[in-house]
Amino acid sequence: MQALALEVEDLFKSFGDVQAVRGVSFVVGHGEIFGLLGSNGAGKTTTIRMVLDLIQPDSGRIAVLGAPFGEATKARVGYLPEERGLYRDMKLWDVLVYLGQLKGLSAALARQRTEHYLRMVELWEARNLKVEALSRGMGQKAQFVAAAQHEPDLVIIDEPFSGLDPVNTAVIRSLIYSMRDRGAAVIMSTHQMHQVEEMCQRILLIDRGRPVLYGDLDEIRERFSSNAVEVALSGALGEVPGVLRSEQREDVYRLYLAEGTTPEALLRYLVSAPGVEVHRFERVRTSLDEIFVQTVGHRAEGTSEGEVAA
């Protein structure tokens, strides 16, 4: 059985009097895109830096690809830091070949992979430009190539889409999917919730250093679901049994169901109601944005810190 790509257990880290990370635990499997979420200063980057052995935890256990982060694992890990930067006075091609070689690729393979990935992210024409001459988006894609070209088994990407236009976002997204499809574990730290909703299977939400939500994204959304449905219909909708309240926007109604009322029962009622024609019926799913605000917002208001909701 293949070991987990990453195991983090009860991680703690303080800077002076500030507890940056408090008891963070999570695992990431191969072939998974995992979302690491949290507001600014929540402890995400500190956690990532501890995973990558850039800083030492005060306590806790980290296993990267089945072992503590070390010489053997360095070449199997890719990292796109939040703070972007490459050797600015060098040509893009030279920088990427060098970084590929540092990750254990031979010179020939590094050149081959650099060419392949530069073409993939549409930067081949810019290969002879100095890094300082690249636009922000180009620089970000170049850095993504540096994190991906050695085809690592674990990739940690911090805010991969910030500053990218929709076209480049799509390019990077497809690159992330291709990494996942070849079995790599991808940890994505981001504020862009819609990207997480679209791409991640599981998430960990950290707030002020503490893990507050962890698990399967669908299950979490289910848990936060408001038991409401959205219906587009024509005809007059009178009082509907089992509905607590309703909101109307043109011909679209959002109906909040009473406890014990199921969407299926409501649909049956509406279909059989005289003078009503249902065009669209769907369950309202709570967005990750709402979950984030609900969870972190509550805690920010001073509610007690409970156990991780998993």
Binding site: K13, S14, F15, G16, V18, A20, N40, G41, A42, G43, K44, T45, T46, R49, L52, D53, L54, I55, Q56, D58, E71, K74, A75, V77, Y79, L80, P81, E82, E83, R84, G85, L86, Y87, R88, D89, M90, D94, Y98, L99, Q101, L102, K103, Q143, A146, A147, G209
Partner: protein, 408 residues
């Protein structure tokens, strides 16, 4: 430490430096100066005035030929100095040589010219004056009188016999030239060490790079690359210097090759290697403390003072090459390479002093490299944090968790 990784970093450092204009300026300016000086010297060496030169002999001891064309000197006897000055002012003469009454006793001469006398003129006039004292001498005697004697010197320490002139000068000056070259090399290359050390931090690529290698490997690779480049620079300088020397040797009509003081070259290499590493590691420490490229470049200026210290003390050392100050500075690692070489020009430096200096140099270079590696590690641990001296010191001591930190 991983040798392959260190080699990659060294090559990357070399590539970065070679792509910078500053490196080529530093590498080529000194040779360019040598070439220009050599060319100017070659062009002006044998240039003697094309027009006539006046001679006023107040001593009455010289038999002055109206014209001495042997050395290309068109000499014209002048009745008195006033007439000579008039002819000089009117442009009839290019120069006026006045031989005073007491010339035979004092050897004093006066030369008047509107422009600086050409090099080689003095040598030609000396030949003329010697021959003019004995105009009736047979040709063999006249030749001997007008030619400088050819000396041979034996260096008892090495048993080497040296011919006079350039070879003897080279033999004596080589150690000092090497010492000066060491100081010059450090002065010009130290300014590139600091910026290279902090490049990743300034370019914000340190975090990414450190997931591929250890901080000590990054530092070792950079120092190795910079050392290789310095050796390349030195090789260029030496090649051009030796070329200029060979040109001078050849123009002097010498055969074969001049004798080289190999012991000086050997000690220059033995002391220069750890000497460079010591200063490079110190420059690295200062750069890490400075945090940025520009600050690192400025701080390296402080080290140049230390590098040049033996130069300021040369006078004292020349007066007492075996004195306490000279001995002490030979043993102090910061001044050992240049001071030992400077002293070699004037005295036989005892072997024990050279060996102790060498040992102390290696120990201090190793200590500085260790210190730089610790500081570099601390710098990487403080990644993303404010680089205050206190935070750096605590990181240096391994107390990384108690510094002020930025979280994310």
């Amino acid at each position: 430490m991983n040798g392959r990784t260190i080699r990659l970093v060294a090559l990357q450092t070399i590539r970065q430096q070679v792509q910078s204009r500053l490196f080529w300026i530093m590498t080529l300016v000194l040779p360019a100066i040598i070439v220009v000086v050599s060319v100017i010297a070659a062009l002006t060496e044998t240039r003697v005035p094309q027009g006539p030169l006046g001679v006023v002999d107040r001593s009455g001891q010289l038999t002055i030929p109206i014209s001495d064309q042997e050395d290309g000197l068109p000499l014209v006897a002048q009745p008195d100095e006033a007439e000579g000055q008039r002819a000089l002012a009117s442009g009839e003469l290019q120069g006026l040589l006045v031989v005073p009454e007491d010339y035979l006793a004092s050897g004093h001469l006066q030369y008047h010219a509107v422009r600086q006398p050409a090099s080689g003129l003095e040598w030609a006039l000396n030949r003329f004056l010697r021959r003019a004292l004995a105009p009736d001498a047979p040709p063999w005697l006249a030749d001997r009188l007008s030619s400088d004697p050819a000396w041979s010197y034996e260096d008892l320490a090495s048993g080497r016999v040296l011919s006079s002139g350039l070879e003897a000068v080279l033999w004596g000056l080589l150690p000092m030239a090497l010492g000066m070259m060491f100081m010059l090399m450090l002065s010009t290359t130290l300014s590139s060490v600091g910026p290279a050390i902090v490049a990743e931090r300034e370019d914000r690529s340190l975090e990414m790079v450190l997931t591929s290698l250890r901080p000590s490997e990054l530092l070792a690779g950079k120092l190795l690359g910079l050392t290789a480049l310095t050796l390349l620079q030195l090789a260029v300088w030496l090649l051009v210097g030796l070329g200029a020397l060979a040109l001078g040797w050849w123009r002097g009509g010498q055969g074969g090759l001049p004798a080289l003081r190999w012991s000086a070259l050997l000690w220059a290499a033995l002391l220069g290697g750890p000497g460079y590493l010591l200063y490079a590691a110190l420059a690295a420490c200062l750069a890490i403390l400075a945090g940025g490229r520009e600050q690192a470049r400025q701080l390296s200026g402080l080290l140049v003072f230390l590098v040049m210290a033996p130069m300021f003390l040369t006078g004292f050392v020349f007066m007492a090459p075996d004195g306490a100050l000279a001995k002490a500075l030979t043993l102090v690692p910061f001044t050992a390479p240049s001071m030992a070489l400077l002293r070699m020009m004037m005295t036989e430096v005892p072997l024990w002093q050279l060996l102790v200096a060498l040992a102390l140099l290696w120990v201090s270079a190793a200590l500085c490299i260790w210190l730089a590696a610790r500081l570099f590690r601390a710098l990487s641990l403080l990644y993303g944090q404010r680089l205050s001296p206190r935070a750096l010191w605590r990181a240096f001591l391994g107390r990384t968790s108690s510094g002020a930190g930025r979280m994310g």
